[in-house]
């Protein structure tokens, strides 16, 4: 296993700053966290379309791929790359190509958790 410490530092700083930005918006406005996360996903989609988010992932690793912005980025990239191969219909077929891990995992774990546990209140 190859550990590059500078990547960890970058992951910590970039990831921390993205979360910090979310917190500052939450505290300074009346927006709910749902509004802020939705905004971040839209931002990620646009940055992905412009090809600006991948360089950040390259630089900060988990610091850029863990925050929800990366979800928007992956959706856009999936749509774009598949559209490049098969034309406009690829937007539909490629949409969830890169994000299916996250969505599927969340559905499965959510379902399993609901079977095994109950809300603690």
């Amino acid at each position: 296993m190859r550990i590059i410490w500078s990547t960890y530092l970058a992951a910590f700083l970039v990831g921390g700053l993205i979360c910090l930005a979310g917190q500052v918006i939450y505290d300074r406005t009346k927006l709910t966290m749902g509004h802020i996360l939705t905004g971040m996903v839209i931002l990620g989609g646009i940055l992905g379309g412009l090809g600006l988010y991948d360089p950040l992932i390259k630089f900060a690793g988990g610091g850029a791929s863990m925050p929800i912005i990366s979800f928007g980025n992956s959706l856009a990239k999936g749509a774009i790359s598949e559209a490049g191969k098969t034309g406009p219909i690829g937007i539909l077929t490629g949409m969830f190509e890169l994000t299916s891990t996250g969505i599927t995992a969340a559905i499965i774990f959510g379902f399993l958790a609901a079977i095994v546990c109950r809300s603690k209140g």
Binding site: Y26, K30, M33, S119, K120, G121
Partner: protein
């Protein structure tokens, strides 16, 4: 009231978190578990109200046969907790909804019906449950949401009061029915600010109608404005009515939790159960102990629904005032 009805007994049941309250020793029953052994939080709330009603009846040594009318309300959609309890008790039933002001709405109505000679004995009850209310009004309870500093914590608790014409206990001398007030607050997490003007309006009308002054009461309490809402009320009533409430004014929401020890409650407690357990449990006992002789309770309610809030409507609020006197 010509012949003031008497609250001969009360029953209060609270959840485990409220069991940590500085007022806990004045509550009749403290549940060990948020679910009260039930399958859902809604069933738990039903159980809460049921136990409070039975406790009040048991203390007064009355049974269902002695009671003419059951008046109850709660926060859950279509006041299901009250409906199911009325069915359990098998009594004639009026369901009332006044959001968190329901405790005094029900008690005031019961008192008026008794004073008017229509019925002899009424049982009034109300309840709220943190988890059931939270999931109806806000988010799933396990969702990691950060509470705003002016936010409030729904009290898990139920209070019941038995009203009749003869007996020992606090007498209901005056009821001032609230008017809806709307000052354009839209944030459902900022209920103290939404409800404070309603409390101020009812309080000023009560003083004008009865020709009393704040000094005539040993204690004036509002239902669930919380620490922040109570501060607003002080400022607002001074500005609009020229009244200085001073230390005789308190708020049930600010009293029920130890806000230093449990910062997650933010501004304080809220919910129907808040004013019910504090007034029926704590304050009536303080009256018996001789600490207060005459108190004014102004229960406040925010009459919004999750739908009205999402459609960007303002939050209209109401407050009902009831004056109690211990002979």
């Amino acid at each position: 009231m010509a012949t003031p009805p008497i609250v001969i007994a009360t029953g209060t049941t609270v959840g485990p978190f409220e069991g940590q309250s500085p007022l806990a020793k004045d509550f009749d029953l403290i549940a060990g578990d948020l679910t009260l052994g039930q399958a859902s939080f809604e069933l738990a709330e039903r159980e809460l109200m049921n136990s409070a009603c039975l406790k009040a009846m048991q203390k007064a040594k009355r049974t269902e046969k002695d009671i003419d009318l059951f008046i109850a309300g709660d926060l859950l959609n279509q006041i299901i907790t009250s409906g199911f309890n009325a069915s359990l008790l098998g009594l004639p039933f009026f369901g009332v909804y006044g959001a968190c002001s329901t405790s005094m709405a029900g008690l005031g109505l019961g008192a008026m019906l008794i004073d008017g000679g229509f019925i002899g004995t009424a049982l009034t009850a109300t309840s709220s449950h943190y988890s059931a209310a939270e999931r109806q009004y806000r988010y799933p309870t396990e969702y990691g949401n950060q509470r705003r500093p002016y936010g409030q914590w729904t009290v898990t608790g139920a209070g019941a009061a038995l009203l009749t014409t003869q007996g020992k206990g606090p007498r209901v001398t005056h009821v001032t029915v609230g008017k809806m007030t709307d000052f354009g607050v839209k944030d459902p997490l900022n209920m103290g600010a939404a409800m404070a003007p309603a409390a101020a309006d009812t309080m000023l009308r009560h003083f004008a109608d009865t020709k009393r002054m704040p000094e005539d009461y040993d204690l004036i309490v509002t239902g669930d404005l919380g620490e922040f809402g109570a501060e607003i009320l002080r400022r607002w009533i001074k500005e609009t009515g020229g009244l200085e409430l001073g230390i005789r004014y308190k708020d049930c929401g600010a009293m029920i939790y130890d806000r230093v020890k449990y910062p997650q409650v933010a501004s304080g407690g809220s919910g129907c159960g808040c004013s019910a357990v504090v007034v029926f449990g704590h304050l009536f006992r303080e009256m018996e102990r001789g600490r207060y002789r005459r108190i004014l309770v102004i229960a406040t309610g925010a009459m919004h629904s999750p739908t009205s809030v999402m459609q960007k409507q303002t939050i209209p609020c109401i407050a009902h005032a009831v004056a109690f006197e211990f002979p």
